[in-house]
């Protein structure tokens, strides 16, 4: 067993080989993702994030280099591509468009069924997955197409969780949801990770969510790995992030402006909670007990 959940070793990939539309998606990427934490991946559109994700569960094969899950190369005997798909559960963007079954139960059970599990085991996993994403039991026999957009999204995510993947990979899990739905989905994922202590990887464009939920952050730029560090450390590099079309959390900008206006605030405030505990003492006259 390796100390890393996922390792990319010198991975390169190009699309459209042999056509005039050749495009380099990844260029010699070396990346080690730690076990048991939430890692975020950010990058501009076309920076290679999606390619990176699809390599984690064996959907794409690197042209050069190799990808290892828990120290085993994908495609080797110990980690076949099929096993990789079950080890690293990948939730695509807008996963609700992949629902197809008659009932919520059947749709969530599709993955476990493909794993060849017994019916009791499947039923147990479906129930567990539904609890993780906050769906109530009485939706089990409802058609997934009768649900609301947010509920459909939960069903689709539960479909992956029911496979009990050691690694959960999510591509923009909250895209297109309202603020309440966003917070709920991210909250579910956060709690799921805490309870199962599994490895979670999230791609998102929302720096606010990244600051709030991820421990480490990977920054991709034009197919290359630009930064990989603690989320807090990455967000200190405001100018670098700006130069590649990314940004720091909104609250950090507010804090910066306040600092410029003369308030004695420190750098490195990235979430609303941090901002509150920094601001309240100042507003109460500096006694520090709000």
């Amino acid at each position: 067993m390796s100390e890393y959940a996922i390792s990319f070793q010198g991975v390169s990939y190009r699309y459209g080989k042999g056509t005039p539309f050749l495009k380099t998606a990844l260029e010699k990427v070396d990346l080690n993702i730690k076990k048991g934490i939430i890692t975020g991946i950010v990058g501009h559109t076309g920076s290679g994030k999606s390619t990176l994700l699809q390599m984690m569960n064996g959907l794409l094969e690197p042209e050069e280099g190799q990808v290892l899950l828990f120290g085993e190369r994908i495609g080797s005997k110990k980690m076949t591509k099929r096993k990789a798909a079950f080890t690293a559960g990948l939730v695509f963007q807008y996963p609700e468009y992949q629902l197809f079954e008659e009932t919520v139960h059947k749709d969530i059970a599709y993955g476990p069924k493909n794993m060849g599990l017994s019916q009791e085991e499947i039923d147990e996993r479906v129930g567990e997955a539904m609890r993780f994403v906050g769906l109530s039991e009485n939706l089990l026999e409802v058609s997934p197409f009768d649900l609301s957009g947010g509920q459909k999204r939960r069903v689709a995510i539960a479909g992956i969780l029911a496979m009990r993947p050691q690694i959960l990979v999510l591509d923009e899990p909250a895209a297109g949801l309202d603020p309440k739905g966003r917070a709920e989905i991210f909250g579910n994922i956060y709690n799921y990770q805490k309870r199962t202590e599994s490895t979670v990887i999230i791609v998102s464009h929302s720096m606010d969510d990244m600051a709030k939920y991820t421990k480490e952050l990977v920054v991709m730029h034009e197919g290359r790995l630009l930064m990989h560090d603690q989320t807090r450390t990455v967000f200190l590099e405001e100018d670098l992030l700006r130069s590649i079309g990314l940004d720091v959390p909104g609250i950090t900008l507010v804090m910066k402006r306040l600092r410029e206006l003369g308030m004695p605030l420190e750098e490195g405030i990235f979430t609303v909670e941090e901002a509150r505990s920094a601001l309240l003492p100042l507003l109460k006259g500096g006694d520090g007990h709000a």
Partner: protein
């Protein structure tokens, strides 16, 4: 994997063929197809092959691409040729059924008609591809069809609707391919297996792809209809075009050239008298 589909694909370019009026190209393609099936003797075929090679050279479409478009049809071509080879009766028997191990006789006429059939299909594919689909953008193509069919609108045929449907269908082919790819990847991530098991289990494995695809097609159709209505689309009545088609001198010249070529290629009487030969038996 699905991205390899080249059927009816357009290759942008700036050759004479690319710049021709789509109506002329459609007419030319129809003419060529008819002529390919009417050509009788080897001289006719020779000239048609010459014309096809000329068109390919002018179009600037890589020969590799053209071969690629023929490849999926190789089996049909060979089968047709074989059928003609064995089942064409004739007097000049080359291999008697007694000597042939499958008890079929081969005649000189059979060989000739087999070769002719194979040539016909090949010319058909290459001509229609080079003249029409490879060098004409889908929008131009439907525009051309609409204009050519416009006389029928007078007797109540919904020509505009037909053309609009066609251009919408063509427009969404790449979208659907992309969508299929995406759904396949997603279901593979849930352990779907499309390539093993018997026929029934393989067909069953397609359900998780087809249902989401069907649903998203309906959704897209709904959204598209709404978007078109928002822009006050109400059918073809009084609708003007941003790009009007106008015939240019080159269009007329091209059509004349093709007509001339065809005249020579397949009016036997014409080249008989031109070449001063009275009997064409040696060309059959």
């Amino acid at each position: 994997m699905l991205k390899d589909v080249t059927l009816g694909q357009f290759f942008p370019g700036n050759s004479i063929l690319h710049r021709l009026d789509p109506r002329i190209k459609i007419l030319t393609a129809v003419l060529l197809i008819v002529v390919v099936f009417l050509a009788k003797n080897l001289l006719g075929y020779g000239l048609l092959i010459l014309l096809t090679l000329l068109l390919v050279a002018v179009s600037g479409i890589p020969v590799k691409t053209i071969f690629k478009s023929i490849k999926p049809l190789i089996f049909i071509i060979l089968l047709t040729a074989a059928m003609n080879l064995f089942f064409t009766g004739g007097e000049n028997v080359l291999v008697d059924e007694r000597w042939s191990f499958i008890h079929l006789k081969i005649t000189a006429e059979g060989i000739l008609s087999g070769v002719k059939m194979a040539l016909r299909i090949l010319l058909l594919i290459v001509d229609s591809g080079v003249v029409l689909t490879y060098t004409t953008s889908p929008i131009d193509l439907t525009d051309g069809i609409e204009r050519l069919l416009s006389p029928f609108a007078k007797i109540g045929l919904p020509v505009h609707t037909f053309a609009m449907m066609m251009s919408l269908a063509l427009r969404f082919v790449p979208t659907l391919i992309e969508e299929t790819d995406k759904i396949m990847s997603a279901q593979k991530s849930r352990g779907a297996d499309f390539s093993s098991g018997n026929l029934i289990s393989r067909v069953k494995a397609l359900i998780p792809i087809l249902i989401p695809l069907l649903i998203s097609s309906f959704r897209r159709a709904d959204e598209l209809a709404l978007a078109m209505e928002c822009r006050c689309y109400h059918g073809g009545k009084g609708r003007t075009k941003m790009k009007e088609l106008h015939l240019k001198a080159t269009d007329i010249l091209f059509l004349l050239f093709i007509a001339l070529f065809i005249g020579v290629a397949f009016l036997p009487g014409l080249h008989c008298s031109l070449l001063g030969i009275t009997s064409f038996d040696f060309l059959i």
